[in-house]
């Protein structure tokens, strides 16, 4: 069986997209792990949509129910943090002041449509802040496994699940590959160590252009 990246390594690869001075919102689930791999010596401000800019690591010491991130996890604060209410928080998100949002995905289409909130086979799901983050962030990175259980490709010609937002995804990072979403469709730019580009294509519904600089991820 082909062995792709672990969740931690997907998070590590996503973290390489984040640079000094950026404001970044990490969605619930896998994206949360990205906070463990932020580049050191660079100032990256993590935004939690429940009203914190500049939180640090997830920490259970001195649990305070009023000091949590958007996933409900207790967090520490970095120097220069600030608090604000939810209207101000979504003004920040919707107004394009978040440089990068990293969200989990259920499906991404070749046009960059994202479906990540509703799972028809469970008949359940909630919107939370996902639609606003998907529409508002300057750059949207989706971090997910390349296929769902049973091998069903998550990267699809068009999404079958209810959309979070149409045409919003900029970059897809999976356990198998890094794929850019552009006006001409999807471009495979990196493969996970030991993964063949043909194998990535076989696990992907739409055609993947291959970048002239296609290479193995450096982790």
């Amino acid at each position: 069986m082909v062995q792709g990246l672990s969740r931690e390594l997907i998070a590590l690869r996503v973290a390489r997209e984040l640079h000094d001075g950026m404001v970044v919102n990490l969605g619930i689930g896998l994206p949360t792990l990205v906070s463990n791999f932020l580049p050191s010596g660079e100032q990256i401000l993590l935004q939690a949509e429940n009203g914190i800019l500049g939180y640090g690591r997830i920490s259970d010491e001195n649990f305070d129910s009023d000091l949590i991130n958007a996933g409900g996890q207790p967090v520490t604060l970095l120097p220069g943090a600030s608090f604000f209410d939810s209207a101000a928080s979504f003004a920040m998100i919707r107004g394009g002041h978040v440089d990068v949002a990293v969200l989990g995905g259920l499906e991404v289409s070749e046009r960059g449509d994202l479906a990540n909130w509703y799972l028809p086979e469970r008949g359940g799901g909630s919107i939370g802040g996902a639609m606003d983050l998907a529409c508002g962030a300057k750059r949207l990175i989706v971090a997910m496994t390349h296929t769902a259980r049973g091998g069903r490709p998550r990267i699809r010609t068009r999404c079958e699940y209810p959309l979070t937002a149409p045409g919003v995804v900029d970059l897809i990072v999976t356990d198998l590959a890094v794929i850019e979403v552009g006006p001409n469709g999807l471009t495979l730019t990196e493969v996970a160590p030991g993964i063949d580009p043909d194998y990535v294509q076989s696990q992907t519904e739409p055609h993947l252009h291959r970048s002239p600089t296609l290479h193995e991820m450096e982790l």
Binding site: S65, S86, M131
Partner: protein, 230 residues
């Protein structure tokens, strides 16, 4: 001077009628008015339309399902796509015993702000091309299409702050702000649960998160420990 301080959460809810529309502040465990929620359960008010960011997610709102006090809920997060044991709300929703209106979180809080700020509606891109668009007007402005979203108000808002003064000024703490200051502007009667009540003038005017004009009733309670375990 108008007396705003009530002795118990139950006193503060003395006139909440069946069928009321009620907002609840809080985001998961932060800034959730747990004592007021428990008093509302004791009161047994039925046919409630509830408005809160989440239910059954590190809050105590799920207790209102024990005796089926909720007729409808407007939320951003109520039904999980994955995870463990279903909440009572999820069970009742699965049986269609309670109605649910899911709203994107930014639209949710902006609708409440509009309700409090005399704004008749606003244009947002959020929800365009999704199920959220259903039944809504699309308005073009500056060459771009937007959804027209309408204000949200309630009969009562139950909120949580850190401190209050006797005049009704509220001070928040950490991420306990979230929806509380916004909901305080958008309900006919606003009831705040706080950890401490001080004399008027003891909260620095720079530290007031909700000005006294918005607050009708204040009740001091020991916070209920809540925590979301996923």
């Amino acid at each position: 001077m108008i007396e705003k301080v009530f002795a118990t959460p139950d006193d503060a809810l003395h006139d909440v009628p069946d069928g009321a529309t009620i907002m609840f502040g809080g985001f998961v465990s932060a800034g959730s008015p747990s004592n007021l929620i428990l008093a509302l359960r004791r009161r047994g008010t039925t046919g409630i339309t509830g408005i809160a960011n989440n239910i059954g997610l590190g809050d105590l709102l799920d207790v209102l399902c024990e005796k089926r006090q909720l007729a409808k809920f407007i939320a951003t997060f109520a039904i999980r796509a994955s995870g463990g044991r279903a909440s009572r709300f999820e069970e009742q929703y699965a049986r269609r015993e309670v109605e649910l209106e899911l709203v994107p979180q930014g639209t949710f809080v902006e609708r409440i702000r509009a309700g409090g700020a005399g704004i008749g509606g606003f244009l947002t891109r959020t929800g365009l091309g999704t199920v959220v668009q259903e039944g809504k007007r699309v308005v073009e402005a500056g060459g771009v299409e937007y959804l027209l979203e309408l204000p949200l108000r309630a009969d009562f808002a139950l909120i949580k702050a850190h401190r209050a003064d006797r005049l009704g000024n509220l001070q928040y703490r950490y991420a306990g702000r979230n929806f509380n200051p916004i909901m305080a502007t958008a309900a006919d009667i606003v009831i705040a649960e706080v950890e401490e009540i001080v004399e008027t003038g003891e909260i620095d005017p720079e530290d007031v998160g909700t000005p006294a004009v918005y607050v009708d009733r204040v009740v001091r309670c020991d916070p209920v420990p809540v925590r979301w375990e996923g």
